[in-house]
């Protein structure tokens, strides 16, 4: 491989346990590094394209003139501190945010288009499941709403339960689950029906490190095998190296849109956290020099 420092962490933790995913060949290690995201190939269309995206909520501008692309078939991390507009951006992509101005196209359609409703899986920070149903009953209902045919429904529910490692808790009332299990149950709903785009708002908060690693592994498996595009937000900078590409956000603006390595090279920082600091400091100087764009 390349410079060892340039190997993203998720490559390392997949290839060091070749037997972990029993049913799969250890293909991530053979793939030759994921620091070349599909987006680098101009033939691959972007899954999400935004230009001049602005959202005003309660008289306060939450997103200011955001421009970004999310590469298809890759895992893009949306990183930034709490309150920087990550959730508003994700809600805009999914089509639940009101008063969105600017251009925003998702999977080739305007965001919020009815044609997108079965093609996007969305997980909010709040686990959006019925607390008075079991996990399996929740999944069965959402699968029916998504139009999964009745004869495939049970198999589809088992599949997503396996993906989030909740098969042994499937009959439990969701009200009785731990926080981590609850958020995985919510994630399982988003996986139903194999959406092309997964929009995940802080899906790994509060999970133990083993589960967190397993989930990131699942995200990459979805991207690599099924060409699923993932847009995953986090306020934890140390998750940056698990992403193929990064969008760094602060105060409603996108500071950077790059690979983790590209970001480090561009800023000369050793960690994404330092790169973020570098961008914030240099950004404030530049904006003083140039004034608003």
């Amino acid at each position: 491989m390349l410079d060892p420092a340039a190997v993203p962490a998720h490559d390392a933790d997949v290839s060091d346990e070749p037997g972990a995913n029993r049913s799969e060949p250890p293909r991530r290690g053979l793939a030759g590094g994921r620091d070349r995201p599909p987006a680098a190939d101009p033939a691959t269309p972007a899954a999400v394209e935004a230009l001049g995206l602005t959202v005003v909520r309660g008289g306060r501008s939450v997103l200011h003139d955001v421009a970004l692309t999310v590469a298809a078939g890759a895992v893009t991390g949306l990183l930034g501190p709490s309150g920087c507009g990550k959730t508003t951006l994700l809600r805009s992509v999914v089509g639940t945010q009101a008063r969105v101005r600017g251009r925003l196209r998702v999977l080739g359609l305007p965001a919020g288009d009815p044609g997108l409703r079965s093609r996007i899986g969305y997980v909010t920070q709040e686990p959006s499941v019925y607390r008075d149903l079991t996990i399996r009953q929740n999944l069965d209902y959402y699968a029916a709403v998504l139009g999964v045919p009745r004869r495939h429904r049970a198999a589809e529910v088992e599949r997503v339960l396996g993906d989030v490692d909740l098969l042994d808790r499937a009959g439990a009332l969701t009200a009785d689950l731990s926080g981590g299990q609850l958020s995985r149950a919510s994630l399982a709903v988003a996986l139903l029906g194999r959406p092309e785009l997964l929009v995940l708002d802080e899906p790994t908060v509060g999970l133990d490190p083993v589960l967190r690693r397993d989930l990131w592994r699942l995200f990459h498996r979805l991207a690599d095998r099924h060409g699923v595009t993932l847009l995953v937000s986090s306020h934890v900078m140390d998750e940056a190296d698990r992403c193929d590409r990064l969008l760094l956000m602060r105060e409603g603006r996108v500071l950077a849109d790059d690979t983790p390595d590209g970001l480090r090279r561009a800023t000369g920082a050793t960690t994404v956290e330092n790169a973020f600091l570098h961008l914030v400091e240099s950004g404030s100087e530049e904006s003083e020099e140039r004034g608003p764009r």
């Binding site: 945010q97 959006s128 029916a144 709403v145 998504l146 139009g147 049970a154 198999a155």
Partner: protein, 272 residues
């Protein structure tokens, strides 16, 4: 368990979502509506205490009323029949306003509306589930009143059942609508004295509507519960289906449908 679908060469299941999917066909709407109704009933099945209260409390209250009116059997028949319409209105209003408030605040509504679920599918699913529950509730209460408590009707008890179910749908529609204006379950419950109790006071249960102060009498003319109580009173007094009964049923049904449509309009896909 269902056997897994055949695997593709890379060991994964084939895409289960047939494409293109027709989400707007009648069959698709019907499937989502019945799935929603089944889900609501499953939620209730996990809460047997609520179901028991919903079904038994009206019966117990009728027994209570029967002995309150121990010396006045015609009074019991008139008020008892009217209450058979009031119970489903009250219970479905409370159940629906809390249930939909939970959907709104728990994120499940937002998630459903990012999926190919029409707002009408959701409302119809709730109507189907709560309507079914109302049929059971009203059948129990009407059965107890007529067969055990000797509530005397000139008309058929089935006519009472029709009004009771329509009242359940009206209560559901009002509950759905007011839940849009409640931020918490405390607020939602407070809409009960604000929205339902005035209708109970003005519906003619206590005094005839035309003997009220003229303004109140006019107000009671536009409140839907007045028509359901009038309809119930028709069944107590007259054999067969009278023209007044038909008018009352149509008014209650029309108001329920209109408020249900208003309630559906408060379910927004895009929120600030």
């Amino acid at each position: 368990m269902t056997p897994p679908p055949p695997a593709t060469p890379d060991g994964t299941a084939p895409a289960l979502r047939a494409r293109p999917v027709r989400h707007d066909s009648t069959a698709a709407h019907l499937a989502r509506t019945t799935a929603t109704a089944r889900r609501v009933l499953r939620q209730l099945a996990h809460d047997p205490r609520t179901v028991a209260l919903l079904l038994l409390v009206p019966v117990l209250l009728l027994i209570l009323l029967r002995y309150v009116f121990d010396a006045d059997r015609t009074g019991f028949s008139r008020i008892g029949a009217s209450l058979l319409g009031v119970f489903p209105l009250v219970t479905m209003f409370l159940v629906t306003s809390i249930a939909t408030l939970r959907e709104r605040s728990g994120g499940t509504l937002e998630r459903l509306l990012t999926m190919p679920l029409a707002r009408g599918d959701l409302v119809a699913g709730y109507a189907l589930a709560f309507g079914g529950l109302a049929v059971v509730q009203a059948a129990l209460a009407t059965g107890a009143a007529v067969l055990v408590l000797d509530l005397r009707l000139a008309g058929s008890p089935w006519l009472l059942l029709v009004v009771a179910v329509l009242n359940a749908l009206l209560g559901m529609a009002l509950g759905l609508f007011v839940s849009a204006f409640a931020a918490t379950e405390f607020q939602a419950v407070q809409f009960f004295p604000a929205v339902i109790v005035p209708q109970i006071l003005l519906c003619g249960l206590f005094v005839p509507r035309d003997s009220m102060q003229p303004v109140l009498s006019a107000v009671s003319d536009v409140l839907p519960l007045s028509y359901s109580v009038d309809g119930m009173t028709e069944v107590v007094a007259h054999p067969g289906v009278t023209a007044n009964y038909v008018r009352d049923v149509i008014v209650v049904a029309a108001v329920a449908a209109a408020v249900l449509a208003l309630g559906a309009a408060t379910l927004r896909r895009r929120t600030p």
